[in-house]
Symmetry: D2
Subunit: 227 residues, 4 copies
Amino acid sequence: MDESHTKNKNYGVFGFSGRLGREVVSLFKENGYKMVYGRDDTEEIKDSNPSFLIDCSLAVCFDENLEIAEKFSVPLIVAITGLTEQQMQKLKLFSAKIPVVQSNNFSYGIQVMLNLVKNADEKLKDWDVEVTEVHHRFKKDKPSGTAEMLKNAIKKENINISSLRLGNVFGEHTVKFGGLGEVISITHSATSRRTFAEGILKSAQFIIDKQNGFYSFSNVVNNNFKK
Amino acid sequence: MDESHTKNKNYGVFGFSGRLGREVVSLFKENGYKMVYGRDDTEEIKDSNPSFLIDCSLAVCFDENLEIAEKFSVPLIVAITGLTEQQMQKLKLFSAKIPVVQSNNFSYGIQVMLNLVKNADEKLKDWDVEVTEVHHRFKKDKPSGTAEMLKNAIKKENINISSLRLGNVFGEHTVKFGGLGEVISITHSATSRRTFAEGILKSAQFIIDKQNGFYSFSNVVNNNFKK
Amino acid sequence: MDESHTKNKNYGVFGFSGRLGREVVSLFKENGYKMVYGRDDTEEIKDSNPSFLIDCSLAVCFDENLEIAEKFSVPLIVAITGLTEQQMQKLKLFSAKIPVVQSNNFSYGIQVMLNLVKNADEKLKDWDVEVTEVHHRFKKDKPSGTAEMLKNAIKKENINISSLRLGNVFGEHTVKFGGLGEVISITHSATSRRTFAEGILKSAQFIIDKQNGFYSFSNVVNNNFKK
Amino acid sequence: MDESHTKNKNYGVFGFSGRLGREVVSLFKENGYKMVYGRDDTEEIKDSNPSFLIDCSLAVCFDENLEIAEKFSVPLIVAITGLTEQQMQKLKLFSAKIPVVQSNNFSYGIQVMLNLVKNADEKLKDWDVEVTEVHHRFKKDKPSGTAEMLKNAIKKENINISSLRLGNVFGEHTVKFGGLGEVISITHSATSRRTFAEGILKSAQFIIDKQNGFYSFSNVVNNNFKK
């Protein structure tokens, strides 16, 4: 491993002690990455300058974190959900100078599901569509952002989303297409939070040599984007 | 086969040429029954006096049919959905003189499901509950009467029902119980209309020797009722 | 409607009184087609020369039917399942002179599912795959031909097929892809035999102006084939 | 809290550093219990005498652990899977002197499912039955012990079990009953290992004041057992 390669594996995390943050730190370590910068609501760790940054914190911390990211001036992966319109605008301006990956869902399977759903939607012209999502009882927003994303991927109109809240189900999304005489269902179930950490790892591998710009996780997965 | 037994197999049907009516006539024939009286919006057939009557017509025909049933003075099975409160009252008065079975759903499996759901509900005290129903796109009422019946069978409060409308799905009902760490689902899918005809056949076998009174399909299936 | 158009709607059916045959005759009638030739194990009807032929009979009748088809020398749609290798060879030779559509499953949804499964398979490289099929208790072959077709559409090796036999379930096929942390399932359920009749109707519309050749139902659905 | 109560919360664990062991230690701590004895393949911890013992280790360690348990002479909960017939015999002999709870599955939901399945089986006399289980790709035994338990709870014969191995699915069991025209499915999905730790906690609360004897987890859940 040459030095530049090693250096590329030094990274920083905002929100490193949160649920997702810990999962990220653990997976990146397994893959030879080293957390050289970390920030949380109680502490800031800095061993050296990171080659890229990951934000796994909360929307309320975003603005401060962005200022710090600006100083480091390295690629940024944003895995915060619930950013405001204004924060999204800020992030897009930022991406004019620095490469950014942003997504509400870093699960690879959800990206694959989105493709399948678009594909099915095109082929099943007069069929009905129903979107269903099941999440743990603690989830307050209804419907989930991912269910909205699925709905928006479908060209048909007036699509109904059913939201179920059950125990501690990690996350399940189903799109059902119904024709006269047949039903096609596409379901994605998440069985662990690690899935999201893996999507962030893929994003890190993707962004390290990209030019300035705003990338979605779909760009990462499909490796398609406008230069 | 003695004569009284044979006579008990002579029956009449209101709405004999409708979807359910035809299914009933076909199944009863297979089981050695003979339709000796039939009535529809276009014709009335009368070969001899029926030993019992089945009403598979529509709520708008109910009052007239009840008058005819009163003249025959034989047990009556009512498989019409959407009876008004007033019509139900009339039917209950009628049942003081003549045995009546009435239900919105003559599927045996739904009765079994109701028992399972009650059983699970008692055992799963702090679990969340979600009811889902899927029906064909032509079904206008949301939620289905059967979903309401399932909801009412559960002692927990504030139960959410999700209704999906898809193609020509015959009818699917699911109750999901979610605890922390586990989910139990109970699903009933109807795959043909014959199921309902079979419930009506069971009701015919049940009612032929019963005393006056108002019986539900649950009484038929569980053979439990107050004398 | 000009005469040639009308003439194109005159057709013949081998096995016209079987389950699928009756469904085909009924659907084609609704769409303005006229059965001018019919053959069954007990009778042969011939009003005039058909513009195309459909074989909904059984493998044991295939050879005789093919001889008759040869005399009519019109496009042929073969919806028989369980043809032998030898019969398939014969049919392919026949297609050198006359356009033929052959498939084991004329459900449009299964074709869409096949595309989705191939798509998912390419994207989900290291994931496990499981194929499941549920059919009525009367189905004797295990696994179903459609399950084999799904398995063959997937490039991974050693794929397990689970076969369930239950009541009178019309037909349900599921392909599950499992990664570490997520599962994607694609399910197709048939809810009526009409689906297959509709696939045969699409095939009739497709084949009427095609040149000699052997076409699959996938060619019909995707309208892609080598000239 | 009086002293005896506190003392009852001192316990020991064989296999305290394994996957299930850690989950048990963590949950028991949350509930005010104190691990005063622990044993593993690398170390033995002993602070004081435990009031009861839990064996979360492996079948190969069972015999040695049982000898240690004999010395402590306190109630024992055995959560090891894959005990040999001989080991089960040994455990039963042991239970003549000391109360024992043994089960292959300490999930409360699976016990409830067993009851539902028995209930459905009795009501659905001529229906077909199919058992399906889905587990992570690392599970080597096929079918799962729980699937066998479900099969044995059903009085029908020649029941087929389908086993799917997918990603890291924690555990899903389904029993489907199929009649002519309807299907009833009962599914249990585990979403975390904590479920099992909670079953062990219930067992600890149950066994602390029981007399010598061999108890199943079903006895714990239903609180029914012969004295």
